[in-house]
């Protein structure tokens, strides 16, 4: 959500900008800004920071937006949130409008609605002279180092080891032997494919002790997960020793289906994302675990790294590739660690730019 401007210590400069706008129009401001750089004193705060994401109606992105806000506050900069509502055109149009409005002095941390959008966004930002970090989705052949210096970095999480790790937590919860059922995301979605791959790896490593009774895509939808799990209970009955869900939302749907049949707490469920409801379910012994992505960190760090570049703290073009395309760290939360995780939520240190990065992104296909 766009913060009210008056809350930020920018009032005087903003009003000067608006005078300029009134005189020459927004487009003219852009060209002026390019031709006559503002004095150094203005440099720190004339940059606008923005996070672009799908919708603040989902907990992951709401926290992601909050991370960006935290960083913006820490440096006293103006901060905006753009939402795509799942619409690529809207997402790109909003970014263009903001580039126009800020005269290109924009630091953007974007979770593109769809992979191809990333290229358009990067090109637009580069043309306007802004800086951008992308999250999760981008074409495999689009790399930050090919768009120096404006395309600062791409951050993602490796779904394969994450899913493998959380699947192992599930197996542990029911004794390591028996059948499981698995709920996947939208079939064509990259994280969905990676998480399925991780699950398959984990099952393969049990040497037949754990079998996959059935896999169904529930399209990240809680309700659909509920319905599919109901049908599984009919089909497999007590053969089901555990439920793997590729995200927490579907895991919650599965859990409620189990509850309707008196199985909540008896058949363990795992999910991925680390939403509050999943943490509560872990505490109640109904979930065997989840993976917390730390969206506060991705939301904030996607702005902190480019900001460090524009303020001269680092020169991004001189950073190694594992600082330009890197995985973040997922935190496995289980019954043993949930209390600690909730008591001490991961801290974000905006000065430790790559402290939580875990290696350069690998391309599998």
């Amino acid at each position: 959500m766009a913060k009210n401007v008056s809350e930020l210590p920018l009032t005087s400069k903003l009003s000067r900008r608006s005078v300029l706008k009134g005189a020459a129009g927004a487009a003219a401001v852009g060209s002026l800004g390019g031709a006559f750089p503002m004095p150094a004193l203005a440099e720190e705060t004339t940059w606008t920071l923005a996070n672009s994401l799908r919708s603040v109606a989902n907990p992951y992105h709401a926290t992601f937006a909050k991370g960006g806000e935290d960083f913006a506050k820490s440096i006293g900069a103006r901060y905006e949130v753009l939402v795509t509502e799942g619409n690529s055109e809207k997402g790109i149009a909003d970014i263009k409008a903001l580039l126009q409005r800020t005269g290109g002095k924009l630091i953007l941390n974007v979770d593109p609605n769809d992979s191809p959008d990333a290229r358009v966004i990067v090109e637009e930002v580069q043309k306007a002279g802004g800086f951008v970090v992308t999250q999760w989705n981008k074409p495999d052949d689009l790399h930050p180092w090919d768009h120096n210096p404006n395309y600062v970095a791409h951050m993602s999480f490796d779904g394969v080891p994450t899913a493998e790790a959380i699947a192992n937590e599930l197996f542990k919860a029911f004794g390591g032997e028996g059948g499981i059922v698995a709920l996947g995301g939208i079939l064509s979605n990259v994280p969905a494919i990676e998480r399925k791959l991780g699950l398959d790896n984990a099952i393969a490593k049990t040497n037949g002790k754990v079998t996959l009774l059935d896999f169904q895509p529930a399209d990240w939808n809680e309700q659909k997960a509920f319905e599919i799990t109901q049908a599984w209970i009919t089909r497999f009955g007590d053969q089901i020793k555990g439920v793997f869900a590729a995200n927490d939302g579907m895991g919650m749907g599965a859990l409620e289906a189990l509850r309707q049949n008196g199985l909540a707490g008896k058949v363990p469920v795992v999910g991925i994302d680390g939403i509050d409801a999943a943490l509560a379910a872990i505490e109640a012994g109904e979930f065997a675990g989840t993976v917390a992505w730390d969206p506060l960190w991705t939301g904030g760090m996607g702005l902190a790294i480019p900001y460090a570049h524009v303020t001269g703290k680092i020169d991004i073009t001189k950073e190694p590739k594992e600082h330009r395309e890197f995985y973040g760290t997922g935190i496995i939360v289980t019954k043993d660690t949930v209390a600690d995780y909730k008591a001490n939520p991961p801290k974000v240190d905006f000065n430790d730019l790559w402290g939580k990065a875990t290696g350069q992104i690998q391309y599998r296909s």
Binding site: A57, A62, E227, R235, E256
Partner: protein
């Protein structure tokens, strides 16, 4: 005196009215033959439980569609009512607790949103799909704004037991409530003036007007009645998953319209019934349940679903008398 020829040859027409039932029975038979556990009591209960919320939603949607309009606000209305209900029972976000009174509160909120749909549609003369789409977005927007992206967790066991988890004669509470909703809808349809007027307006609005029916008022009222059902569905949704959030009703709209149409209610209005929609809901539910029970490849499921839905509509609609299909 046998004055004039009164009836027209209609054997096929009468048969068609039963086509959705035939489709449902055929579907049950196929699934049951491949996986006999389909016919177990446990599975019947689980399917009824899955059908409960779609049934309640479809009761409202059917009225609107019978009238020749469409209501796309389903998801927004349900979401807002679900969020409201979960914030009015014991929860982890607000201190307000009115227990089961949250149910009538959610129903009335739904009714109010429905009336708003009707007023915008009728008074501002905006096509119903636009008016309701707007109100639906607003509903999701308000729910999002209230929650700011978080979820409300319900800690009120009474609320969850009375609306979802509790059982009477082995049947979950949600199913009983859905049954009552269907009964209420059927009485409204068959035994009230409004019910008759829905058909009259859906068939021919001008004739309805000529017959002295207050068409505008009736339209607004029907959207309100539909909203009452969505409100109830909202409360049931919150109770079912024990949480309220803005995306709680995702995909409900599509399921509802599919069920109504598959049940044999025409989108053009005037033809169909809430009982048709009951059959339609079960066709959709049995289909989804059956796909999993029969172990059909996920990649194939959507195609099979699409083909069967088209087949069901083809059987139910008397297209022979339609020279023009829109």
């Amino acid at each position: 005196m046998a004055a004039i020829a009164v009836e027209r040859g209609q054997m096929l027409g009468h048969w068609r009215r039963w086509a959705p039932v035939a489709v449902l029975l055929g579907l049950c038979l196929v699934v049951g033959l491949i996986n006999p556990s389909f016919f177990s009591f446990g599975n019947a209960v689980r399917m009824l439980n899955t059908a409960a919320i779609p049934l309640v939603v479809c009761m409202g949607a059917t009225f609107v569609i019978l009238m020749g309009s469409i209501d796309l606000s389903v998801e927004g209305t349900i979401a807002l009512c679900a969020v409201a209900a979960s914030m009015l029972v014991t929860n982890d976000l607000t201190g307000v607790t009115i227990g089961l009174w949250s149910v009538p509160a959610a129903i009335l909120l739904g009714g109010a949103l429905g009336l708003l749909n009707g007023l915008v549609h009728v008074k501002l003369r905006i096509p119903s799909f636009m008016a309701t789409l707007g109100i639906g977005f607003a509903g999701i927007g308000i729910a999002t704004a209230i929650l700011g992206g978080v979820m409300v967790r319900i800690a009120d066991t009474d609320f969850r037991n009375w609306l979802s988890l509790g059982r009477l004669f082995g049947i979950p509470a949600a199913v009983w409530i859905a049954g009552i909703a269907v009964l209420a809808a059927w009485v409204i349809q068959e035994r009230t003036r409004i019910g008759r007027w829905i058909y009259a307006i859906g068939t021919d609005e001008q004739t309805a007007r000529n017959s002295g029916i207050p068409v505008e008022r009736t339209r607004i009222l029907i959207f309100g009645v539909a909203g009452l059902f969505y409100g109830l569905a909202g409360a049931l949704s919150a109770a079912q998953i024990g949480r309220g959030h803005a995306l709680i009703a995702q995909d409900r709209l599509f399921t509802a319209i599919t069920a109504v149409v598959v049940g044999g209610t025409a989108l053009s209005g005037g033809v169909g019934s809430v009982l048709n929609s009951v059959i339609g809901v079960f066709i959709v539910i049995v289909l989804a349940n059956g796909m999993v029970l029969m172990g059909i490849e996920p990649y194939v499921q959507k195609g099979v679903q699409g083909i069967l839905i088209i087949a069901a509509v083809a059987l139910a609609l008397d297209r022979s008398r339609l020279d023009v299909v829109k």
